[in-house]
Symmetry: C3
């Protein structure tokens, strides 16, 4: 039994690790995820490998970094917060006065207590990130600036879980593991995804599940470059899971044209279970759906999120921390994705077996309350049956008659037992 605390505790454990698009932080993260779901396999792709229009960069690792003033006070210390260092900073050990140093420090004036998150993957550079409230007090003088990092010919690391089902057709889940020490964006995605995998291991699967944990952009491109044909042949619906940890309302990014099975299922589940959710335009995409929905790839991938990247103040700062997410937030997202998967797994197309309305009374399915007519349960059965004409699947009927798909799954079981419907 997976609990909300399971999800949150995993986030707590993963939070301190310094992740990037390559390096040991990714490997350590995948090891912790494997402890939750042992089906995960870890792959390494060497530096220099061509992936479509890109190339796997050198692997980056970092052990220490700081800025010291003339008295030797560490006014910035990487060991206190991974965000203090611009991701993929080159090694450096030098002295500079404040004026020069200011060229290498990033802050947010409008959000003075937050350390921003900055990277420079594809342009050799270095830099520091500091809360503005601290930075503004820096005094003129010489500073010792040191970064103990390394670029090497190494590899890009990612994890993959394949859970076979009765059909070769696949449901695809992707999440990313390249963000250091931020909670909603992005530990929430890996935490929800690994527990979805753990749950999926326990159910009788109609579909095969492909669940991947990759660095954003370069990782999804790498994975696609190795698996595209198979993915295009098999994937019927996919979800890019990100920003699912806080208590905000659900939100949704459709696929490129909003017309895939993943869109249909997501909208149906959100309509049935969320009084108030927000639909973004695909133009507001910003995560790996950029790759999955690109021309020639064209996978049916959507995102159900809570507070979307770029849409909340704490985004990409040190304030997107463990207090920004919650056990309830994570678990609610886990549950909504389970509903989507449940709908996908059971989304059959039935045909009514009797001509005309069946005599529901014979089957104990006609419930009549006094003078006020049939019950809502009998009404649902009646409405369900009239649309079981071979042209609608369960989700279509749910949309037409405004009854959640999960209720229709139960009703369809009862009707099958009574031989009132059969597969179309």
């Amino acid at each position: 039994m997976i609990t909300k605390n399971d999800l949150y505790k995993l986030a707590v454990k993963l939070f301190p690790i310094n992740r990037s698009i390559t390096g040991d932080g990714v490997r350590e993260t995948l090891k912790i995820l494997k402890a939750v779901c042992s089906s995960i396999n870890v792959y390494e792709v060497p530096t220099g490998t061509q992936v479509f229009d890109w190339e796997i960069p050198k692997e980056w690792n970092i052990w220490d970094a700081y800025i010291e003033d003339e008295e030797g006070n560490r006014i910035l210390n990487f060991k206190e917060n991974n965000l203090h260092i611009v991701g993929y900073s080159k090694p450096i050990d030098t002295y500079m006065d404040l004026e020069e140093l200011n060229n290498y420090i990033h802050s947010i004036v409008e959000y003075p207590e937050a350390i921003p998150y900055i990277t420079s993957y594809y342009r050799e550079n270095f830099g520091f990130c500091m809360a503005y409230e601290k930075r503004k007090n820096l005094e003129a003088g010489k500073y010792h600036v040191r970064i103990d990092s390394e670029f090497k010919d190494g590899s890009l690391t990612y994890g993959e879980i394949i859970l076979p089902g009765k059909s070769k057709k696949e449901v695809f889940i992707s999440t990313y593991i390249c963000h250091p020490s931020m909670a909603n964006n992005e530990l929430s995605g890996p935490c929800v995804s690994i527990y979805l995998a753990k749950w999926l291991e326990t159910i009788d699967r109609n579909y095969t599940y492909r669940i991947i944990f990759v660095p954003e952009t370069i990782g999804s491109l790498t994975y696609l470059s190795k698996n595209l044909d198979e993915m295009k042949r098999n994937i019927i619906a996919g979800f890019n899971i990100t920003c699912v940890g806080d208590n905000g309302n659900f939100s949704y990014i459709p696929s490129k044209y909003g017309n895939t099975l993943a869109d249909k299922i997501s909208k149906n589940v959100l309509n049935s279970h969320c009084d108030d959710y927000f639909t973004y335009s695909f133009l507001e995409r910003g995560s790996d759906e950029r790759q999955y929905c690109s021309p020639g790839v064209d996978l049916p991938v959507v995102s159900i999120m809570r507070s979307k990247y770029g849409e909340y103040k704490e985004y990409h700062t040190s304030k997107d921390d463990l207090s920004f997410i919650s056990p309830e937030g994570l678990f609610g997202s886990f549950e909504i994705y389970k509903k989507c998967i449940n709908a996908l797994e059971n989304n059959k197309c039935y045909r009514a077996s009797k001509l005309g309305e069946p005599h529901l009374g014979k089957y104990g399915l006609y419930q009549n309350v006094g003078n006020t007519g049939i019950t809502s349960y009998t009404r649902k059965i009646s409405d369900f049956l009239v649309y079981c004409d071979g042209t609608n699947d369960l989700v279509d009927i749910s949309n037409i008659i405004n009854v959640p798909t999960e209720e229709l799954i139960e009703i369809s079981e009862v009707l099958k037992q009574n031989e009132l419907i059969h597969l179309a």
Copy 2:
């Protein structure tokens, strides 16, 4: 010449008869309808006949029923109102005290002056219906409870009119004749339908007309079970006529997907002639469209009504009486259905015979008023002609140019005479 009083007088004549889904009340009703339109043929289907998932029940007849108090006062008397007895009540002759009797009496506390209408066709039972204002004064004591009714192997009775037209393709009208002593629901349907038949006998018919008078549900199922193949092959549009007697605004229930010729015609006629009509969802269906639109049956059947069953206070009570309907209400419904039939009969697809706009002046069709431009009649001709491109029938063009179909029928006659259009 059919008048509004013809329709209302028929309702008055039919009102006192005790109808049910079987029995002599149905036969007497059909005899009176035959006096209006002799084309009606009456059929009997024996008890026990299987009709799809159902079986024709025993025939039920009732001669008398009452409740007497200890002094022999008849505190309820079936002869005063057919609704006093639960339909299909079994015979009984016994004594019971008030407490027990209360289990068998139905009333509506919120509508104390009305006798409710209750049936129990498929569960053997008995019961009485009484206005609450009368019931609440019943005093403790012994009561004599008597119902002189009978179940027997008999038959279910229905009427059918077939009026052949030039084409084997059919227009279908169905109404029901199983309701005792209620006016809008349901004597209005049979009264309007039989007079439509009488009118249809007099016109030059392009289509064949199939008009049936059946008990609701079991009757329509019975009819379908005997005629389904022919009906599916031939029916192009159908109307379930019910609740058409009062002065309320028109309302409309579409077919299952709202996309049949019957829907198209009905919406066009209602849009052209009713400032204010209400469209229900098919989910709010409740009459024989439940059978006609069921999977495998899938007939193009809609309902144009006035105050819909279940939507008015007097529904299924003794207050749905002859004062609830009116000659004008019945006749207005008769007229709207005539307009639908007229539109169906003349809904041709034409093509303009000239390239470019014709020189309307040559045909006396160009009417110009001083400086203010062409008349609305010339404008209608011009708009009609531009859409006579072989892709639109008259109803399509009516929808596009906002001119009633009946006006376009007249215009099309003029244009045909001038050889400005021809059948596409």
Copy 3:
């Protein structure tokens, strides 16, 4: 370099000429237009020629006309304003008293300072038009009424420009040259059209351009009757240019079904460049789209206008004069049509050449501003590329991503140079 004054000066030059559907005024007009664009060829079609349902009427010319009072004062003088005479007035030289004369004078009581514009092409007649403020002062007495006009077997005159392009497929422009001494309706159309022709001569054309200057109705019918097959085979988009001279907001009349390439281009350009434009229904048509969109002709013709015929007070009166239009009004219309043509010429369908997002940084196309993310230029490139999947042309993508087509044309050039897209 075509300037706003070029367009306005042409209108000034054309304004005094007395045009009608035939006659020397049309010939003189075409001569002046030929001085702007020498590619124009002039055609004459003889009186009596059958054009579809019509016949070319006798040619009408007029030299003088007036009304004199008993003292010989000319109270109406054709030489002062062409509109004073009902178009196609027969010759007359007679005396009548005021009462009789009043039968032949047209005025607008509600617009007393304006002379109305009246014609009687197809019913032999004569008449005068006079401002009501002048007419109301006429005194009883004898009047000398004289019209020096002539009907003869002559011809109908029109102009045609054909500018060949790489493709035989054509863009069609039609405007009309039958209105005397009115500015917006109609000198604005010929002025804008002839300068579009002049500009088109200078560009590298993908499409062939067919630009015609015809009398309204009888002229477009004549032209169609001679060229219909070729036009139906080749024309991909057409514009009926009228009422484009004032400073009013743009407006738009779609083609018959609003679904042609001309509609798509026009709506896209108007949406991108006009905050506020008005879309009329095709039912409000009134110019030569009546012929071009008629059944069997069915050309993809729309109109982008400013203040539409019939929708402004000055319409068809002497007040639609040179002060009602402006250099800016004419030039803005010229520019909007250029944008349409530019969109048509470049409306290719591309496919992205790379799988996944390209590494835009490699091409200098990734512009990142500090912490705030990518620039709007990079965003546009990214949004453009994701829809370059072979199913969308540039205008489709413009509609989806809300970037003007002309910007996408520039972006597509850059992407082609970098081999990031290719023709689909």
